[in-house]
Every structure is written in structure tokens, then in C-alpha cells.
Subunit: 223 residues, 2 copies
DNA sequence: CTTGACACAGAACAAGCGTTCGAGTATGAT
DNA sequence: ATCATACTCGAACGCTTGTTCTGTGTCAAG
């Protein structure tokens, strides 16, 4: 038998492949003994031996003492998704739907999936929500009719963040970059050719959320 | 205690929530006893009792006899991802990088993951590629500096599709909605307040790809 | 009041499973 | 020849876990 001191060998690869195929078929990882059977390894300790090596190589994660507590870490086409509920539409003349305190992603009727890798770790696991943009009123925020905006609930914002604000005196919802200034707030359109809106401190300004992502799908050429 | 013969009740929901949160934290499903502890159920048989009901309701899948062999069906945090290679940048003054014939998504250094559910079935499995937008030159396409555009390779386009075109006489790359007309082609900016570009048939116009999605991440407020 | 479905507790069983240990073999370097 | 390293085997240990069985209390219908 060929000996290889470093790196992963044929047997390592066979185990990895088996774990992947088993997971696809059974929806859960195999046990150590199942790996042994299908990879012609007669002893569970040997499988454990290889599993340890694969873990050291960073190709595998193990939850010790847990049945079938292993998972592949490689770039497999399966990965974490964030299921973000679409709470409704956002348009200039209407307030923004806000997640109810007890809203539940499982009950949400409409959702969009976002690859977790696209989201900064801060936003992961937070109670993100999404809104469909309706109308052309957000054009100065570089956001078009039909776009999807992903929001994080917030009542405050730091300079430079894009926020969804409700200007109650104007009865208007808008998406702008937020800057706090001496006399009040500056709401800067994303489109650099457009001028900012200045809001005095006396005027009402309700921050409803921070925009963390905008998604535009281009398939709507059904016409 | 309130009795509910049909549908899912408070306890069912609590179990579902716990499974989801446990899975997020531990990367594997909980055991029956762990569910019992965290949901104030003292007997494993009762947990099993509820799990059976949830399975009948279609909210849960179970692999009997398998440790932790359960998974949520409604919201599976695992799903299909499309790993799209980022081939480079797109900017007005430069041609578009085009996928090599033998390009390999796994070898690609930079990739973005897109949930397969976001993509229409036509685009799935195609050799999509992504480009980073550099500069403000695509502003009339409602695309900002830093955005990511997902493209499908194409040499032709139908009316209404957004395409990436290379105007070799102007040495310019641009993203526009494409319309074929009598005298030539009309390149319509996404921003409806801006005027289209007319291109005569005699003038060179190379379609490089169709835009299928635009993604804008809002985290770049490091400044 | 009786009956039966429903919701729950507790205990015990048997199988599944990861871990550990002792021992053996082959390879390559010293 | 010696020795360390890499690899393999088999068995046993003991905890984990799903399953099942018996029993109790509640509530509504007949």
C-alpha cells in the first residue's frame, strides 16, 4: 500500500465523497460505521482516525460525542441561506410595513433567500426583512420599480448609512443616505448628481430601518 | 390547559423555533431529549408525540431510528446555491472580461453565492458570471459604484433585455436596455428620466451579455 | 355517568454510536 | 539492525438516543 505522509490521500477523498453523497441522499450525515462499510474500512477507529485528519486539514467539522455530528466545510454548492420575509411593498406615499414583534420567518408567506456569504456577519441572524419597491419614487436612491430592498430594523443610524425614513409631515417614505449635521439631518440621494434634502431637527423624521442590500432581478421582460 | 385538536399550537411552534435556533447554533439538529429540556417537556415520549404531529403537518421531516434525524421542511436553512465567479470589473473605458471556455467555478478566486431560488429556472446551471462595477459611469443604468452585476453570456438580445454592450468606436462599455428598431438599435437607460442612445446599424455594437441580476451591498461605510 | 380522544409523565429497553485501548504491520530513515 | 512514524484491526466500554409501554388526568360528546 502506498504511503503518503502529508496532505490528503485517496482514502481521505473517498470518505469526503461518501459523506457528500450520503448527505445528499439521506439529508443527514453518515455515522462512523456507515463510512467504514462503504469505504472498506473494517474498524471504526480507523474511520475516526481519518476523520480527525480531515478535521485538521479543515475539510471537515466535527461535533464530538454527537451522533453523525460532522459536516463538510468545503465549497460545496450547498450552503447557508438566510430566509428573509418579504413584508410588503415600499412606496413614496405609504408608511413602511414593519416586522411585528412576534413575526415568524416560518409563517411568512413570501420570502427571499439570500446566501449567508453575501451578508456581513453582523447582519446574520438578525431580524432582517425585505420590501418590494413599487413605483419610480426611489429613483434618486438608485432603486428602481420592482427592486427588492433588504432592511434591518433600526430607529437610529450612523453617518453614511442608507436608511428608510418616514417624513410624517410630508407623508412620504424615502430611502436616503443619512448624515447628522449641526442644524439637523442631511438626506443624501445615492445618485451623486442629485442634491440632498435638508431636514431640520424640529421636523419629524422617523428612521424605520437600515438598508443592507438591494437586489434587482432582470427577468421582468414578460411584455 | 387549553386544548386544540387541529392545527399547530403554541407548543408545536415552540418546538419548531427551538429546532431552528438549535440548528443555527450547533450546525446539527437537536435530540428528542434536548427538545424536551428547552421546551419544558419532561418526557421524551411527549416530544416524540409532537414530532409525529409536526411530521403529519408536513412541517418536519424525520429519519426514524436515526439520532437527530429531523429537519425542517418549511424553512430549510440549507439550499441550493449558485456559485458565480467574479471575473473582474466593469467600467466605462474598459472591455468586459469574458469567461474563458474552460473556466471552472471552483478554481475561481472570487465568487458570489446566489440563492438558486432567486434565479429563474432558465438561468440556473448556465455559465453565469459576475462583475464588480467600478466608477459612476453606469449611473444611468441605475447601477452604482461597488454594485455586483450578474451576467449571462450572450451575443444577441431580445427587446427589453438589459445587456452589456461594447461600443468599439467610442471605446466604451455600457449597460442599457436593448431595443431593436428600424434604423438601428436603441439603448435605453434604466433611469426613465434619461434619454436613450441611438446606434445606427452601421455602427459597431457588440453584445457581451445579458444582465440577469444586480446586487448592491450597503456595508461600505467604513469611512 | 360512561366513553373515548387527547395531552402528558415516567420508566425501561434495545440499538446506535463515538471513544478508547491494546496490539499488529509496513515503510523509511538512522 | 533499530527505531519512529504511519496505518490498520478488533474489541470493549459506556453514554446517547429513539422507541415503546403503562398509567393518569382532562374534557366533550352521547
Amino acid at each position: 500500500m502506498v504511503r503518503k505522509s502529508k496532505g490528503i490521500g485517496e482514502r481521505h477523498q473517498k470518505i469526503l465523497d461518501f459523506i457528500a453523497s450520503y448527505q445528499r441522499e439521506h439529508k443527514h450525515p453518515p455515522s462512523i460505521r456507515e463510512i467504514g462499510e462503504h469505504c472498506d474500512i473494517s474498524s471504526t477507529s480507523v474511520v475516526n482516525y481519518y476523520l480527525d485528519q480531515l478535521e485538521k486539514e479543515g475539510l471537515l467539522e466535527r461535533s464530538r460525542k454527537i451522533s453523525r455530528g460532522m459536516r463538510l466545510t468545503n465549497n460545496s454548492p450547498l450552503g447557508d441561506l438566510l430566509r428573509v420575509p418579504v413584508l410588503g411593498v415600499i412606496q413614496a406615499g405609504e408608511p413602511i410595513p414593519i416586522p411585528a414583534s412576534d413575526f415568524n420567518p416560518f409563517t411568512a408567506e413570501d420570502t427571499v433567500d439570500i446566501a449567508a456569504s453575501l451578508m456581513s456577519s453582523k447582519e446574520k441572524g438578525k431580524d432582517l426583512f425585505a420590501l418590494h419597491v413599487q413605483g419610480d419614487s426611489m429613483i434618486d436612491a438608485m432603486i428602481n420599480d420592482g427592486d427588492i430592498v433588504i432592511l434591518k430594523p433600526a430607529q437610529e443610524a450612523r453617518n453614511g448609512e442608507m436608511v428608510a425614513v418616514w417624513l410624517s409631515d410630508k407623508n412620504e417614505t424615502t430611502l436616503k443616505y443619512f448624515y447628522k449635521e449641526k442644524e439637523g439631518y442631511r438626506l443624501q440621494p445615492a445618485n451623486p448628481t442629485m442634491k440632498p434634502i435638508m431636514v431640520k431637527k424640529s421636523e419629524p423624521l422617523e428612521i424605520k430601518g437600515k438598508v443592507v442590500m438591494v437586489i434587482r432581478k432582470m427577468e421582468r421582460l414578460v411584455a
